[in-house]
């Protein structure tokens, strides 16, 4: 199946059949931070996906991949602003 990913935008091929939760595990993605959309429909973690399905794994956390270098002054600034 074709799986569309974001941050950065790319498409990967994954072999089916496979449950949604297993697809996310294989892609090393956290369930709480993603939605899985089959065609135009939102699907639950126990939904079975098959070869030929068009799948989008959409991140729900706003922003790109977090880096792990950071300055305390910037964090304080961000926290203060929210």
């Amino acid at each position: 199946m074709q799986v569309q990913l974001s941050h950065p935008a790319r498409t990967v091929e994954v072999k089916g059949p496979k449950k949604v939760k297993d697809l996310l595990r294989e892609l090393n993605l956290v369930v709480e931070a993603h939605l899985v959309i089959k065609g135009d429909d939102l699907v639950t973690e126990d939904e079975m996906l098959y070869d030929g399905d068009q799948i989008e794994v959409r991140p729900v956390i706003s922003g790109g991949s977090p880096r792990f270098t950071f300055h305390v002054s910037r964090a304080k600034n961000e926290l203060h602003q929210m």
Binding site: S6, H7, V30, V31, E32, A33, H34, L35, I37, D41, L42, V43, T44, E45, D46, E47, R58, P59, V60, I61, S62, G63, G64, S65, P66, R67, F68, T69, F70, V72, R74, A75, K76, N77, E78, L79, H80, Q81, M82
Partner: protein, 312 residues
């Protein structure tokens, strides 16, 4: 997986509520959570005029959609930050929503363009005045939302901050023991002094994933890419950590943030204390009259500096 309420096929599972919902029942769940937030925090009533800060992202557009469908009088305000293609895209999403959805409810969209007033987009402006981009952006957005709310006589200003935003912010404040910010972490901040609009966060009971699902299910076309300036932000790391905990132990985020709110409410009458504190230190800016702790507010200082350095 079947819907907990009507037993038809579910479209989303919510482990923190030990439930799953079909589209109809999920929309009911979302509206119920927002109704609870509005009532418990005394945010606003059906007669109040609400100004929703919209960015083109899922949370703010979902908030506008929910409030309109619940029968509230909610207009939108979009601040065009002038961040190239990102701003163009987000502006388009907001405009489309305003025309396709909000207009049919009699709601209008206000627009402020940073480049028109400052002479440059947010990124260039921050560089020219030697300030971090996110800090510059925060100052401008807070100022403009408050200005429009006051000038246009809105009763309250609503933002799309969700449970993940508030839990991540709380985690950051606790990790750095920034206790002075905790009083202002509630979902309803009073209009403590003349010139300040009341600010509320009606989505604080809903997670980021639930709001993204609401947007997808209700065909709300939002900008999936977030601001390019936010990449590497510490808040994203806090959110990621909390989501790992949430996946292993559903309910962690709500226990953390709602538990904090409960403790705060028992501690003291926070709103009164905050109002008293604000009244003691805030007075009108000599330039624009918005409340500030200094003689000239940070926004006016920034604009004055911009006028000296931004090529016109």
């Amino acid at each position: 997986m079947n819907c907990t309420k009507c037993k038809t096929k579910a479209v989303i599972g919510l482990p923190r509520h030990n439930a799953a919902f079909c589209k109809g029942c999920f929309n009911g769940f979302v509206h119920d959570q927002v109704a609870r937030a509005i009532k418990s925090e005394k945010m606003f009533g059906k007669e109040d005029r609400i100004l929703v800060a919209v960015s083109g992202g899922k949370d703010s557009l979902a908030l506008w959609d929910i409030l309109l469908k619940m029968g509230y009088r909610a207009d939108g305000l979009y601040v065009d930050l002038g961040i190239g293609a990102y701003s163009e895209q987000s502006h388009t999403k907001v405009t489309k929503f305003a025309e396709a959805v909000a207009a049919s409810h009699g709601a209008t969209l206000h627009l402020h363009t940073v480049e028109q007033e400052a002479g440059a987009g947010i990124k260039e402006l921050a560089q020219l005045i030697h300030r971090p981009t996110c800090s510059t952006c925060g100052t401008i957005k807070r100022y403009q939302f408050n200005r429009v709310a006051i000038e246009q006589n809105y009763d309250v200003m609503a933002t799309g901050h969700n449970l993940d935003d508030e839990a991540a912010r709380l985690l950051g404040n606790v990790l750095h023991w920034q206790e002075e910010y905790l009083d202002k972490q509630g979902p309803s901040l009073p209009a403590s002094v003349a010139g300040f609009a009341k600010k509320v966060k009606p989505l604080y009971r809903l997670s980021e994933r639930e709001l993204a699902a609401y947007a997808v299910l209700n065909r709300i076309d939002y900008i999936v890419e977030e601001c390019p300036m936010a990449k590497g932000s510490k808040m994203l790391q806090y959110k990621e950590v909390l989501n790992r905990l949430e996946t292993e132990s559903p309910g962690t985020k709500q226990t953390f943030y709602w538990g904090f709110l409960e403790k705060q409410s028992k501690k003291q009458p926070t709103a009164t204390t905050m109002t008293e504190k604000d009244r003691a230190v805030l007075h009108p800016c000599a330039s624009c009259s918005q409340p500030t702790t200094a003689e000239i507010c940070s926004y006016c200082k920034m604009m004055a500096r911009a006028k000296t350095v931004v090529p016109r």
